[in-house]
């Protein structure tokens, strides 16, 4: 159940270029959170009024892990938070990835940039289920790579500039090895929209199921303001709007109209 609560920073460390890992003590959220869900962080006395939604990147004892990239004033402020700093959060919010599978499915995680956050949580959960997923990680360059080794997955690294791993984008990397991965394949993705779209297009063939976690500007994160609408369609092709905060952030590939 979602909860509005004050929390304390346990740890806030710079782990790659402009990217931080924030650990918040929120036992209430740890209890019920599922991979794919997010939480709102609220800021006091700021001219920027919206809370900021962050995918939950994992749990650790009574703590919630968040990964964030410094892109604006709020994330810049966050980067200066010290251990013990108190902030207000609301979560867990939104839906979660469907991790259900039978034994024959290959699980593939595809992350673009800081979009890796919810997939790290997915990876943890799959690992607990005894599954060793493929984990494709794309970054602009080596300095923005968040993971270079991971015992819980079969790691495939790519960088746009070729400074580490496969030279090129993460989707091309995935495509280059997909024939060696046993089908059916269940893809879990989070990254820039171009990446998401390319993966969704791959999922129109039989044997590939794609789920995507989307990022959108949100004013409330609760389904109240209806600001984060995206165009979606059902199986019969009927178009309608869905709210990323409430109906998502995870959508089946076929639902999204990019």
């Amino acid at each position: 159940m979602r909860k509005f609560t004050e929390t304390e920073v346990v740890e806030n460390v710079n782990i790659a270029k402009d990217i931080y890992r924030l650990k918040l003590n929120i036992p209430d959220i740890v209890k019920s959170v599922e991979p794919g869900q997010f939480l709102n962080i609220y800021f006091q006395n700021s001219p920027n009024i919206f809370p900021r939604p962050f995918s939950i990147a994992g749990i650790d004892d009574d703590n919630i892990l968040i990964l964030y990239k410094v892109v604006g004033k709020q994330t810049e402020k966050m980067s200066s938070w010290q251990k013990g700093y108190k902030t207000v959060v609301l979560g867990p919010l939104g839906n979660s990835f469907d991790l259900s599978s039978d034994n024959d499915i290959s699980h593939v995680l595809v992350a673009g940039g800081v979009g890796i956050a919810p997939l790290m949580f997915v990876c943890d959960k799959l690992s607990l289920m005894g599954i060793n997923p493929y984990f494709f990680i794309g970054a602009k360059n080596k300095s923005e790579l968040l993971i270079i080794e991971d015992p819980k997955s079969r790691l495939y690294i790519s960088t746009d500039d070729g400074s580490a791993g496969f030279a090129g984008n993460v989707v091309d990397h995935f495509k280059s090895v997909i024939n060696s991965i046993k089908k059916p394949v269940s893809v879990y993705a989070c990254g820039p929209d171009e990446m998401n779209k390319a993966l969704v297009n791959m999922g129109v063939v039989p044997g590939i199921r794609v789920q995507v976690s989307l990022e959108r500007v949100m004013a409330c994160g609760l389904g109240i303001c209806q600001g984060c609408a995206i165009k979606t369609k059902d199986i019969s092709g009927n178009n309608y709007y869905s709210l990323v905060c409430k109906d998502g952030p995870v959508f089946k590939g076929g639902e999204i109209i990019f």
């Binding site: 909860k3 001219p47 920027n48 009024i49 109240i224 209806q226 600001g227 165009k231």
Partner: protein, 304 residues
């Protein structure tokens, strides 16, 4: 003991002067797991239209300094689903229920009102004639006194319930519209709806909101609301319900001093969902410290 109750004319009174603003609180039920909605004097629902509306294409919201621009396009479930799905929850609600309605034509407004006015759990209506983003509830009803007069006369004929009309600040002189409302039987005026606003991405050169121009809300518009309330209070006697950028108890006092009998909280719900708790606390402390027995005593007491 401080008395926070407020009489809005002789038709109804509120347990305290705090209402929710339309579109920032759903129909009350969606947020009731987080906020104790019983703390409000009443809630104003999201705008209802005759038929359900999908709303405008994205992007629908953009953050601006101390505010936001929205162009949601009155996405709502329509009057049938409202009666079917929300009446049970609202019937059990202890505060007052005001249903906000929006139509494309006089006829549509009347049709919606007719469908709702017999419902005993509805305490009143707020008529949206000031949405900047759509033709329903569109601003044309709320900017021309002649068109407004025609609409209010028709609505007044259909209901004895509390009828409040929400005005736009996007007019030359809000006093003329407020006077029109009083003259033709409205029970109250709520002001202000959002202010025309826009924003452009300097890299893509595209507007940051689908409709190019949307409605600005949040603390950025608070001084505009105060100015309009001060102006309207000088010319009308029916209650003014103040709305626009309120985010604290101090703001509520300021609105009431300017002439508001009650207020609505809107955008603040997005960045401080539990704000009602601290506001009620502040109002009580302010009254105690200033020897005010009833908060209603401060209405319009700004020395302007």
């Amino acid at each position: 003991m401080v008395d926070l109750s407020i009489a809005l004319g002789n038709k109804l009174s509120l347990s305290n002067p705090i209402l929710t603003a339309s579109g920032t609180f759903g129909y009350g039920d969606e947020i009731s797991d987080i906020v104790d909605i019983g703390l409000y004097g009443g809630i104003v629902t999201k705008s209802l239209t005759l038929k359900p509306r999908k709303g405008n294409p994205p992007p629908r919201v953009v953050e601006t300094p101390c505010g936001m621009i929205n162009s949601i396009g009155l996405a709502n479930i329509g009057v049938d689903s409202f009666l079917e799905g929300k009446s049970e929850f609202l019937r059990n609600y202890t505060g007052k229920v005001f249903v906000n309605i929006a139509g494309r034509t006089d006829l549509e407004y009347c049709e919606i009102l007719k469908r709702l006015t017999e419902e005993n759990w509805i305490d009143g209506f707020e008529i949206n004639v000031s949405c900047p983003n759509v033709s329903e509830g569109g601003i044309e009803f709320g900017t021309d006194p002649k068109i407004l007069r025609k609409l209010v006369l028709k609505l007044r004929d259909l209901t004895d319930k509390f009828l409040m009309i929400k005005l736009s600040p996007n007019v030359t002189d809000i006093r003329i519209l407020a006077e029109t409302l009083q003259e033709f039987g409205a029970d109250a005026v709520s002001m202000i709806n959002t202010v025309y606003g826009s924003a452009v991405d300097i890299n893509t050169r595209k507007p940051l909101i689908n409709s190019v121009i949307g409605g600005l809300s949040g603390p950025a518009i608070k001084p505009i609301a105060i100015a309009n309330i001060i102006k309207a209070y000088q010319v009308i006697d029916i209650p003014i319900i103040g709305v626009g950028g309120i985010s604290s108890g101090k703001d509520v006092i300021e609105f009431m001093l300017a002439g508001a009998s009650a207020v609505q909280l809107g955008t603040v719900h997005f960045y401080n969902p539990l704000v009602i708790n601290e506001i009620l606390q502040f109002l009580k402390e302010y009254c105690l410290q200033n020897n005010i027995l009833s908060i209603g005593d401060i209405i319009g007491k700004a020395e302007v």
